[in-house]
Symmetry: T
Subunit: 68 residues, 12 copies
């Protein structure tokens, strides 16, 4: 890596798994950000309803290169 | 959320994945606790035997509303 | 557990999931280390390319018993 | 302090302030626990609705002496 | 919660209290962001002048839902 | 380990040493909990009186298997 | 800021609120220290008696400029 | 400081030193942000190639005042 | 506790045990400070020489009441 | 200290005390490593069996000088 | 090291680099403290003015031996 | 990155600067390890003698690819 990178923090959600929740966050970010390079998981949680996990939530920090 | 919530800490286990281990913890808690609302993952580990992961372990904090 | 254990830190990678990345790290370690007993996940990240997660990365600490 | 103490984790809520949210958690705990001795704040958050803080939330750990 | 959320980090200030400083941060964010859902306090500080607290400062992370 | 484990947090005290304070917490827990499996030390402190340590305090998290 | 600053750690207490407890710590420090510039809150706790919060406690680090 | 501040997270890089990497992040931010006030270093790393440090990387949080 | 407390950080050492090292720190502090109330252990380490622990080191924060 | 040091992470165990567990880790390391200089305690835990502490466990990081 | 050590926390500043800021803190401390033995960096920050780093700031904890 | 990486922890030292201390650690590691890819700084400290910084110390974690 060279140049300068910006880090943005998102929470992705999925009824299926933590991995899918991370993918959802990246897919949403891809609509407005280019040159994404990495993500770091900074938190995992879930919503519970009627005694079952209804939704997996993954908080991620995504790094992308700033275009000059 | 309103009112007061209690947080209980559990470790769920599964031979399959971290997600299943989290589900196991929630299923066990559902036997004695009502009104569970969320969980936060506070640790992930695994037992290894003969060079392979035998069991995924997820430590979770589960929040549930206290009934008045 | 009794005796003395050593802890080694590895990063496993997988195009599929965090769980597979953890398994990759353990499989690699099994080539040179015996008596592995547990692992602790100390970080989760991913490589992104062209707006998609290309590779899941899991940083683990693996504990194994020292042979006397 | 002497003897053995148990620690329980609660989230109190209040529309007014963090201090009132902490008081709400203690008041609820007082219904079932005696000999509470101290609390430690381990997290502060809030629910936002229509651009305003609707509810203050304080996560506390409360210590109380076990009766023999 | 479902969908994807973005997290933005702000510092609010107030001569009165930590709670008012948090409200100031939310009020400022409301000028440009819709669908704010929660905030988490990640730091509290204060400016001191002539031996007195002149200004309370609260660092918050605000989560809001991304519109599709 | 397999199944689901619960974690309870206690503070044990002893005039003698940190180790004795940990033992006191376990002994107290043994009155009401079966199948305790491990403890993790999460804090060590002491009470001082007249310039001397009067009491050692150890905060522990104890894990025990839930019976089905 | 320029020059060198010293940081001192205090715990202020108040029956009223966390903010008043912070003010108490600053007022006490003002008796012996000049040129205080900022404080950072590093812990919040409370003493409970008879099921109610009796005293709010705020642990602060205060920074002040060293006079040359 | 008074008013409301926003915090943005960047990674600056430099072949020379950590200080130059921090300067690179600030210079890049200056192209789009005004009223920058402070930065906090939240991580330092480096890329290694052929047994030598090729690039210093500094992760910073930059605070700037929001214009009203 | 009421009033204002000051916290001082010390490292005590002992060839015997961590507990003795903590006692050494308190004994030294008692020469210049009155009204010590509590200590918190914030680090434990040791010096090794010729393959053996030569000295136990305990880093403590000691709280004492400021006299008015 | 001068030169370059390597850090290795071990878990020592003892039925007696945390101090003995640390000594066990150092004794084991001494079989293969020379020039050990210091250790830092990074975790303390215990195994419980039939309501009693059966084994104290201390996780340490040991620093030793690399020979040239 | 043997005996008892005290730890003092300072912030040094420099227009040049983090290393010079650390040196400034040590030089100031040397005016009143003898037998300084080590420092640990616990924070790095900078003041920004007109889009450039104006001042590097390093927060350090300095350990020094207490004279008997 | 793909495959499996190992992480090793070292402390580099230099009389000149933190950057040089990091370089020293990498140079030493290069004698026995190939395919080093990155380092992360996990601690910065210094030895003080006669009121001056005598030696900068940087604790790093170095990641390198395991050869198959």
């Amino acid at each position: 890596m060279s140049g300068v990178y910006k880090i943005t923090e998102l929470v992705g959600t999925s009824p299926v798994s933590f991995a899918e929740a991370a993918r959802a966050a990246v897919a949403e970010a891809a609509k407005t950000v280019r040159h994404m390079d990495w993500l770091e998981v900074v938190g995992e949680s879930a919503k519970i309803r009627e005694g079952k996990i209804e939704e997996f939530q993954v908080k991620v920090k995504i790094g992308f290169k700033l275009e000059r």
